[in-house]
Symmetry: C2
Subunit: 277 residues, 2 copies
């Protein structure tokens, strides 16, 4: 599909952080007016708000609430910090339930003062510990493998294979995987692991953006689809072949794009979604 007019946007979801300068109510209004059908909510966007009421506002704008971002950050050498992380994840599950989001995305964390293997074990233990709480609340948990450049502090789960392994070991209908093209595009086993993820019923979310060439900042220089070198459309085809029918979530942290007029930027997002994903 090459023409902007041909492709429908009924599966387009946008993360609140993508249009960070907008308050969540503004984002909901603009997304809805533009025909966007899904929204994923970052917890900072809920600060100082009645979460249940905010969820209602989103639904009134005819938006599906796709996920809450984010829980996780389980590992620490310090047992008390690990306990606090569990508590925070329970709070995130509560927020997801109040908001009406069926899925909590997990950025799993890593403690650079210990081995990645130890951090990995603590992640698995941490998720195992919150599964009953998530299940009671009806909230699914998605392990998001993060790019290896975040292995120091953000996640000890850096490939789809690791995420799949962990989801299979935890063996719960409440635990799956979130695929973000930014983190996994380079992986020679990506197609195979996406297939495996789908076959096991673990493919719970699909995030899109692009890898800019060059990338100026390790965290805040993501590109719009088409601005970089990630074969977004190809990865989407793998995800769909694996049976995924959910939303395509645009998640972009970008100081450059945050400086733009956000209405204009929203138009670019929709065009990029149509042309390059």
């Amino acid at each position: 599909m090459n023409s902007t007019d041909e492709k429908d946007i009924s599966k387009l979801c946008i993360h609140t952080i993508t249009t960070k300068p907008w308050k969540i109510e503004e984002a909901a209004q603009h997304f809805s007016a533009a025909g966007v059908k899904g929204i994923s909510v970052w917890r900072d966007a809920l600060e100082g708000r009645n979460v249940k009421q905010t969820g209602k506002v989103l639904l009134e704008h005819d938006l599906s609430i796709v996920s809450l971002c984010r829980g996780g950050f389980f590992p620490s050498k310090d047992l008390n910090k690990r306990k606090s992380a569990i508590d925070d994840n329970r709070r995130a599950i509560d927020e997801a339930a109040e908001l009406g989001a069926p899925l909590l995305v997990l950025v799993c964390g890593a403690d650079p003062s210990q081995s990645l293997r130890d951090s990995g074990k603590q992640i698995q233990d941490g998720i195992g510990e919150i599964i009953p709480y998530a299940s009671s609340a009806g909230i699914r948990l998605a392990i998001e493998p993060l790019h290896p450049m975040y292995a120091d502090t953000r996640s000890a789960i850096n490939t789809m294979k690791q995420a799949n392994d962990m989801a299979e070991e935890l063996n719960s209908p409440w635990v799956g995987v979130a695929v973000d093209v930014y983190h996994v595009w380079w992986d020679p086993f990506l197609e195979k692991e996406i297939k495996r993820c789908g076959e096991n019923g673990h493919l719970m979310a699909f995030h899109i953006c692009d890898w800019k060439v060059p990338t100026a900042d390790m965290l805040l220089d993501r590109g719009l689809m088409g601005e970089g070198c990630i074969p977004v459309r190809q990865i989407r085809s793998w995800v769909e072949t694996a049976g995924f029918t959910g939303f395509h979530e645009v998640e972009i942290f970008s100081t450059t794009h945050w400086k733009e007029n956000q209405s204009e930027y929203l138009r670019k997002i929709i065009k990029a979604y149509k042309d390059h994903s």
Copy 2:
């Protein structure tokens, strides 16, 4: 080993780029005076010099010339550029031979306008094409897998497994692998793939430094061993268990360290080598 005094530095090699502010002749003099036994030479350090004569200077300082950095950058959508890359790699092999370096390190390259698979094929074809030339010159070629954050333009070979696979497929005594802790430390299969590399006689070089937490720049903010979160000593033990007996090469690009007094920095390098590798 915890004490700075206990560990000998007979396997310590330093890359010219590590102490970039020094001309190669200065570096040789300082390294030698400090008891460093090996030097790896970056091609920019040879600019405007008689390469053979420079090699002699290094030997006169009782330095083993460990490797020349770097060849590679094979992929391009453009056939003429691929041909130019082959020519440049032949020149690099000539330089290595003139210098007296037995090994050329390959940063393999990637063209973001095509798939990583296509870039990978062009890398393998390119190395295949220069093997006879390398063999005639007596120069070995080491494929260096690069961190996935460099998959856009610097290398389509991003894991030890990919490098091992390629070295095995090329199946030449002149082709092996260079292990750099910075690029591979996050990989859950690292120990296994280092073992495999050694068993196949492909383990040709070992580069050390550290991953700073946080890392401010994707290219020029590497740390001294001990300044970050890489388990350098553990990876060294894996490399040695795999049969590697060569030099431990300190390769650090760091605008921070380049600003220091380089004599003072050299003392820090030696201390970091003794204490953390």
